[in-house]
């Protein structure tokens, strides 16, 4: 069977398949969506089931400003990717830095909210069902923001050191998909925790 050689017949030069980075990231996003779905279902299932206080309507305030910051960062990261595609590394750096700042503001806002809840309003993860589900769901999202910010910081350092080239646009684009996903999840979490659950 040593003659089993395939003939290089009619080589298809127009053979283009989807980018593996994008396919991989979309698959990861599907998996993450399933994880968040379970946490959201648990949150909704346990709304109003706590047998002791404090309750959401007593302690939660709408985090409007930080939400605006996080959602705006989707726009800035989009503009950053667009700049890099147009080979404008400088504009990329500026938009990327703005994304980093906006994400950091959001995370700081969550930290401040948790600090108030724990030390002023006496709500911890073990206080009641609301505390358990709230800290888990918001914490899972904050964890994803943190991971995203680490990635953004690494790329920022590389940009400052002049290592980012227009040829990296594809990778940055794939990363931005993750960041958009984190923003979309926040829309769901915001709706469930601060609108429906309050």
């Amino acid at each position: 069977m040593s003659s089993t050689v395939l003939p290089p017949s009619s080589l298809k030069s127009d053979w283009i398949l989807p980018s593996r980075g994008r396919v991989g990231m979309f698959s990861l996003i599907a998996a993450e969506s399933a994880i968040f779905t379970i946490f959201v279902v648990a949150y909704i299932f346990y709304i109003g089931k706590s047998i002791a206080g404090p309750l959401p309507k007593d302690v939660l305030d709408l985090p409007i400003f930080t939400t605006v910051c996080l959602l705006s960062s989707s726009l800035t990261i989009h503009l950053a990717v667009k700049s890099l595609r147009n080979a404008n590394v400088r504009a990329f750096g500026i938009w990327w830095f703005l994304t980093l700042i906006l994400g950091a503001i959001f995370l700081a806002g969550t930290g401040r909210e948790w600090h108030q809840l724990i030390f002023e309003k006496g709500l911890t993860i073990s206080t009641n069902l609301f505390g358990t589900t709230y800290y888990s769901l918001v914490g899972l999202h904050a964890f994803h923001v943190t991971v995203g910010l680490l990635g953004i910081t690494v790329a920022m350092i590389l940009t400052v050191r002049g290592k980012v080239k227009p040829s990296h646009a594809e990778r940055v684009d794939v990363f931005s998909l993750y960041w958009h996903f984190v923003d979309v999840v926040w829309v769901v979490v915001f709706t469930v925790v601060y609108v429906i659950g309050r």
Binding site: L11, L17, S27, A31, I38, S126
Partner: protein, 557 residues
């Protein structure tokens, strides 16, 4: 391909020391080596899980036996179930997928080779974590070693009050860690199959193995993630004092059941779909006919994947759902038999009128067809909720799902072993020994799992460590346990055959089965780069086209 193979640095392979070779295996990102690592790792756990099963069966061989204590018995069924599902069945199938998918779609490696290595080592580490509980499970409390909460670990058994020590934490972490590894593998499978196919291989011309693994990977993404989420919640309950599954604080034990079975039932299909893939590759080659109804096979697989996401609560009929819930899950469970039946007809249609060669891989696949049919029939019996109320939690259920997992899944895995062993090792296995393995295993399997249905019908509950004499269960339990020894002997023959053939088997050549998919076009074992030149294909059976230029497949597809 062999005529133009490239001389890489592997020329001085024989001169490597043991340490260097070990270093090579540990740091490898090659899909073939990682595939073999997965498979060897699972075989080790298969033996461990088998020993645990044997301990349980020895305990149950006669009434009032004192072979092990009730506590040890509980640990054995927990570890047996967890090991077999998470550290044998899944990694062995991932191993075959990792090894075969790039070869069958004409790629040189997976889409993300380093993610591939990470996924394997996460899975491996998960298995070690689970078994570390034998050493570390005592913790500071001095109670319990291995987890004893059952493989589905219902609340409140897993709460701090009822699971003292760390054994349940090791169980939870092991599943969390290996679950992340599984998700990584699934992402890799999807990206590889979508983005790495060789020129000409449109989705409609992919080997069925690639198609079915694509569907399986999609299911892993949607089904294993909920388990990961549930394990995070369980850890929050146990470590941070959360109340997800704590009924005293308003939490719900039933929620854990839902979350577990949203994973648990699709998991069965995650395991069986790659086995369908093996059967879909082996049966045509040994019937000397192309697969019958390729598009219908793909459609049926996707239908199974969809429906299997909405059947989970048939594990929970006895919990007390509404009559609408019961009806819904009864109906969906029965509907899933339709696409499954279509597949069985397709395999029979492939064999119909073919020139069947009963080599070991084919024998295992034919047995799979019969046994999977019976497993499906008892599944339909159990899907009827009134019948289920009677038999849920009995040995009838245990017999049913072992019929699926051993009779269908393990049988096709053995078939796949014999079919691809020549490709992986470059040597043929010993056919006579393989036939002995087959017949011994068929005998043992049917002794054990046919007769296991009967004590279930007679009311014997699962997970009891002993039973009273005089209920008519004794003879059946005796027969069931005797079957185990036949199975164990068969497994010994199997492992012995593999080891012997690895060093002494006859050289296999590139294509010992006169098969048609791309993995048989390269050398056995394949070189590091798989293909010296990336193949270009015209039909579903590229090697047929090559061997029969006067009558190629692409004229008809």
């Amino acid at each position: 391909m062999s005529s133009e193979s490239i001389a890489l640095s592997s020329a001085g392979h024989g001169a490597l020391s043991v340490g260097e070779r070990l270093h090579g295996w540990i740091t490898t990102v090659d899909h073939k080596r990682l595939g073999i690592l997965y498979i060897v790792y699972s075989l080790i756990f298969l033996v461990i899980g088998g020993v645990e099963a044997t301990i349980m069966r020895i305990q149950l061989i006669v009434p009032h036996n004192h072979f092990v204590s009730p506590e040890v018995f509980n640990r054995m069924f927990t570890m047996h179930g967890t090991t077999m599902i998470f550290f044998v069945a899944m990694p062995i199938l991932f191993g075959f997928g990792t090894y075969l998918i790039p070869l069958m779609i004409g790629a040189r490696d997976m889409a993300f080779p380093r993610l591939n290595a990470l996924s394997f080592w996460l899975t491996a580490f998960g298995g070690l974590l689970l078994y570390f509980s034998f050493i570390g499970g005592n913790g500071l409390y001095g109670a319990g070693n291995a987890p004893d909460v059952g493989w589905f670990a219902y609340a409140p058994l897993t709460s701090r009050a009822f699971s003292v020590g760390h054994s349940t934490d090791f169980w939870s972490l092991a599943l969390l860690v290996s679950g992340i590894g599984s998700i990584g593998t699934a992402v890799n499978f999807i990206a590889t199959i979508i983005s790495m196919r060789c020129p000409g291989m449109t989705l409609g011309k992919m080997p069925l193995l690639a198609w079915l693994n694509l569907v399986m990977a999609g299911m892993v993404i949607l089904a294993v993630s909920p388990l990961t989420a549930a394990q995070i919640m369980l850890s929050i309950d146990r470590y941070l004092g959360g109340h997800f599954f704590d009924t005293q604080a308003g939490g719900s034990a039933v929620l854990w059941m839902h979350f577990f079975w949203i994973f648990g039932h699709p998991e069965v299909y995650i395991l069986v779909i790659p086995c369908f893939a093996f059967a879909s590759e082996i049966i045509p080659v040994f019937s000397r006919k192309p697969i019958f109804g390729y598009p219908v096979m793909v459609a049926a697989t996707i239908a199974i994947a969809f429906i299997s996401m909405s059947v989970w609560a048939h594990h929970m009929f006895t919990v007390g759902m509404s009559s609408y819930g019961n009806t819904f899950f009864t109906v969906t469970t029965m509907i899933i038999a339709i696409p499954t039946g279509i597949k069985i007809f397709n395999w029979i249609g492939t064999m119909w009128g073919g020139k069947i060669q009963f080599k070991a891989p084919m024998l295992f696949c034919v047995a799979f067809l019969f046994q999977f049919l019976i497993a499906g029939l008892t599944g339909i019996m159990l899907s009827a909720s009134p019948f289920n109320w009677q038999l849920s939690g009995s040995y009838f259920v245990v017999a049913h799902f072992h019929y699926v997992i051993v009779g269908a899944i393990l049988f096709t895995i053995f078939g796949a072993f014999y079919y691809w062993f020549p490709k992986m090792s470059g040597r043929m296995y010993h056919e006579t020994l393989a036939q002995w393995h087959f017949w011994l295993f068929v005998l043992g399997f049917h002794l054990t799992f046919d007769f296991m249905h009967i004590p279930g019908l007679l009311g014997m509950p699962r997970r009891i460590y002993t039973y009273e004499p005089g209920r008519g269960w004794e003879i059946w339990n005796l027969l069931v346990t005797i079957g185990v020894f036949f199975q164990a002997a068969a497994i010994l023959l199997f492992v012995g055959n593999l080891l012997w053939s690895m060093y002494r088997g006859a050289p296999a050549g590139n294509d010992p089965w006169d098969a048609w998919t791309l993995e048989w076009s390269t050398t056995s074992p394949p070189p590091d780069y798989d293909f010296a030149t990336i193949p270009v294909i015209e039909s579903r059976r590229p090697l047929w086209d090559l061997k029969h230029p006067e009558d190629p497949d692409w004229k008809y597809e």
